[in-house]
Symmetry: C3
C-alpha cells in the first residue's frame, strides 16, 4: 500500500500523536511490513479510498491482536498520501464487530489488562483522530466496542435489516463504558439519549438506531458498499486541508481528554476488571454465549 | 421502612455527600423517626420499589417543610438496602407540584432565604444524585420547581391530558432559574430548546412536552402508575452496580458544579430575591393567584 | 434614535463590554452621529422595536464598513431605552447576507486583516451578547457570515422559498470557520449535525434547515415581517430584567471564550488567510463568482 520513502504530505499527524509515547506503548510496525490476518485492507489508488474489512470469525471480536492490527493499518493509511478516505465494514456475515474480546478481560494478569486497555485506547485515538474521511458500512450487529468503532467514523450507514442491532450495551454485562465512550456517545446522540441508553445498556434494531441519529442512514444490505462509496465521494469533493482542520476542531476536546487521563483510565480499567464480582459476571456471560451457540 | 442497624450495601453515597456538611445545613433526622406529613412513602419490599406521593394540598408547593421532608425521605430510602427504585407522583388531583413556595420567598429574613435555598439545593443534590432508579409519574401540572423534580428523575411519564402543563416558567414571574436548573434543562432538551424556553418561561401542554423530549412518554392518566411500575421493572432488570456507576458518570459534572458553588448560589439567591422590584413582582403574582381562586 | 443625555436604564452592557478596549479596537462613533449607508434602521417607539434592514447591494457582503456600521447601530439601539428589540432583515431581494466580504481577505496587508477580523468579532460580541430581543427575518440566502448573524439572534424565521439556502459553508471555499462560529452552531443544532455540516460546508434549502432546527420557523415571504413582529411581541411580553439575565446565563460561556482568546483568534486568522494556498483558493472562488455573474 505504501511506497518506500513516501512522507505523508496532506496528513499531519493529529496533536495527540506528537506527544512522547508511553514506554509500554503499542509496538507499531514499520510502514511496509504488515500482515493482514484479521483485517483485509485494499486501497484503490485512483479514488484514494481504502476498504477495510474485518475478517476475524466468528464475530470480529476486538482482541489484543485485532486491535493492534487495526491501529497499524490505520497508521499506514494515514501516512500514505495516496489514501484520503477509509470505508470500514465486515467480511463476516451478520456481524460488524461484537466489541471488546471478553477473553482478554477474564482471568488474565494485571500487565495483560494494561496492555489490552492501552491497545483499545490507541485504536480509538487513531480512528477518532484520523485526518482521513472515515465511513462505517455497518453490515451486521454492532454492540459495545463495535458500536464505538462506528461512532468514531465521520458517517455511519447501516444495513436496514431489523435483525441487526447496535448500541453501547456494556451495562447489560455488568460493566461500565469508560468516560470517553460516553463523551463520544453524547456528542452523537445528545446527553439525554446517552444517559438513558447507557444506563439501560440498550441495543437498537437498525431502524430505531436511525430514528435518533445513532446511524445516519439505512440502505438495503446489497447496496451498502455502493452507498458508502457515494458518500465517500461526496466528502472527498471537499478540499482536504479545510475539512481536516474542521474535523480536528470538532474532535480535539475529546481526544485531548483521553490523552490527558490515559494512565488513570488504564488504572481504572484494571481496578474494575480485577474485581471478583466483575470476573464472575463476565464468566457467567461467556457461559451463556457458549450455551447459545450449542 | 428502614430496619435498625442496616448499613447501605449496594448504594455507596454519591461523592458530593461525603464532603463535610456546611454547619447551618439541613437538620437530617435519624433514619427511623420520620413523620409523613406532606409526602406519603410506601416501600414494596418484594419489588424493591418505593412509591412517594406528594400530598400537600392545594398544590404541593415546595415549602421549607416539604423540601426537608422530601430530602429526609430520599435519604432513608437511599440507605435502605431493600429499596432500589422510587416512583414519584402526586396524591393531589390535577397537580404534580406547583414548584417553590412563593410564601418562603416573600417578606422573609435573609436567614430564612438562606435556609430555604439550602433546602432546595439539598433536595436536588439528593434526587439528581440518587443511586436508586427514579421515575416521575407526572399526573398533573408541573411548573418551575415541579418540573425540576421531574427533570431530575431517570425517566418521566406524564398523563396525556393536554390540560396538564410542564416547564421552567420562572421568567414569567420575573425571576431567573439558577444555573443548575439551566444545566439540567440543557442536558435533557438541548441548548437551543432550553435557551428559547427559559427566556420565554414556556409551559408546555403534555403532548407538546413529549414532542421535544421534556417528558419521555405519555399514557392515559389511569394507566400512569401501572406504566411507571413497568418502566421501573425494566430499569431494575439491570445489575445495580454498573447502572449506578453509569448514572454517576453522566451526572457527576452537574452535581459537582453546584457543590463547588453552593454558598455563592445561596448568596445570589438572597441578593436577587431581596430586591424590592422582585418582591413587588412576587406580591403581584400572589395577588393574581388569590383572585383566580376566588 | 437616541435622545441626548439618555443613559441606558434597562440594558446594562454585557460583561464582555466592560473590559478595557484593545487599543487598536473598532473606532465606535459617539451615540448621536451615525450615517445609514449600508444598514437602514427605524425604531418604532410605540412598540420599542427597531427594524434593521441590510441594504448593501448586490449581496449585503460583510465588508469592514458594513461591520462597523452594524456594530455602531447595535450599540446605539442597546443604549436607547426606547428600544427593547430588533428585527434584522434585508432590503436586497433574494439575499439576506452573503457573509464575510472576500475582498477584505484577499491581497491585503496584515494590519488590514487584523482590523477586519476585529470588526467581525466586535459585531458578533454585540449581536450575540445583546440584551435586546433579536429576531432574524431571513428573506433570502444566508451563507457563512450571513448564517452567523441569523444564528446569533434569539429567533430565526425564514421565507419558505426552497431556493433560499442557509448554512456555514466555509469548508467549500477551502477555509475554516473559527471556533466561536462552531461553538454557536453546536449550541443551535447539536454536536453531531454541526460536525457533519461544518466538514461538508453544507448549505440547506429553507425547508431542510427548518427540519433540523437551523431556523425556527418558515412562513411565506410576504408574511415574514408580520410574523417577525408577532414573535417579537411575544418575547417582549416577558419582563425585561429576568429575560436578560436568563439570556446572559445561556450565552455568557461562549462570549467569555471569545473575549479570552480574542487576540489569539486574530493571529490565527491572519496566519491562515496569509497562506499562499488560501489566497489562491479565494482568488479562484472570486473568479468563479465573476464568471457566474456575466
Amino acid at each position: 500500500l505504501c511506497p518506500p520513502g513516501v512522507l505523508p504530505l496532506c496528513c499531519r499527524p493529529p496533536a495527540w500523536d506528537r506527544a512522547p509515547r508511553q514506554p509500554p506503548g503499542l509496538p507499531l510496525a514499520p510502514c511496509r511490513s504488515f500482515s493482514n490476518n484479521k483485517i483485509q485492507v485494499e486501497l484503490d489508488e485512483s479514488s484514494g479510498v481504502a476498504m477495510m474489512k474485518f475478517k476475524s470469525p466468528p464475530v470480529n471480536s476486538l482482541s489484543l491482536d485485532f486491535l493492534t492490527e487495526f491501529s497499524i493499518s490505520l497508521e499506514k493509511l494515514e501516512n500514505d498520501r495516496a489514501c484520503r478516505g477509509v470505508i470500514i465494514t465486515s467480511a463476516v456475515p451478520k456481524i460488524f464487530s461484537s466489541g471488546l474480546d471478553i477473553m482478554e478481560m477474564c482471568g488474565k494478569s494485571v500487565e495483560h489488562y494494561a496492555e489490552f486497555w492501552r491497545a483499545v485506547q490507541e485504536m480509538w485515538l487513531r480512528l477518532y483522530g484520523s485526518s482521513m474521511v472515515t465511513v462505517a458500512a455497518v453490515n451486521g450487529s454492532s454492540p459495545a466496542g463495535g458500536c464505538l468503532i462506528a461512532l468514531s467514523c465521520d458517517y455511519r450507514i447501516m444495513a436496514e435489516n431489523p435483525k441487526f442491532s447496535i448500541g453501547l450495551n456494556e451495562a447489560q454485562l455488568g460493566i461500565v463504558a469508560p468516560f470517553w465512550f460516553k463523551d463520544l456517545f453524547v456528542n452523537v446522540v445528545g446527553h439525554r439519549t446517552a444517559e438513558c441508553s447507557l444506563q439501560l445498556g440498550s441495543l437498537y434494531p437498525a431502524p430505531e438506531a436511525r430514528r435518533f441519529g445513532l446511524v445516519d442512514e439505512l440502505v438495503p444490505e446489497e447496496k451498502l458498499l455502493e452507498k458508502a462509496a457515494a458518500v465517500m465521494a461526496q466528502w472527498l469533493a471537499l478540499p482536504d486541508h479545510a475539512r481536516q482542520l474542521t474535523k480536528s476542531m470538532m474532535r480535539k476536546a475529546l481526544l485531548d481528554r483521553l490523552v490527558a487521563h490515559r494512565e488513570e483510565d488504564i488504572k481504572n480499567f484494571i481496578s474494575f476488571i480485577s474485581k471478583e464480582s466483575i470476573q464472575k459476571s463476565l464468566r457467567m456471560y461467556m457461559e451463556m454465549l457458549k450455551k447459545r451457540k450449542s
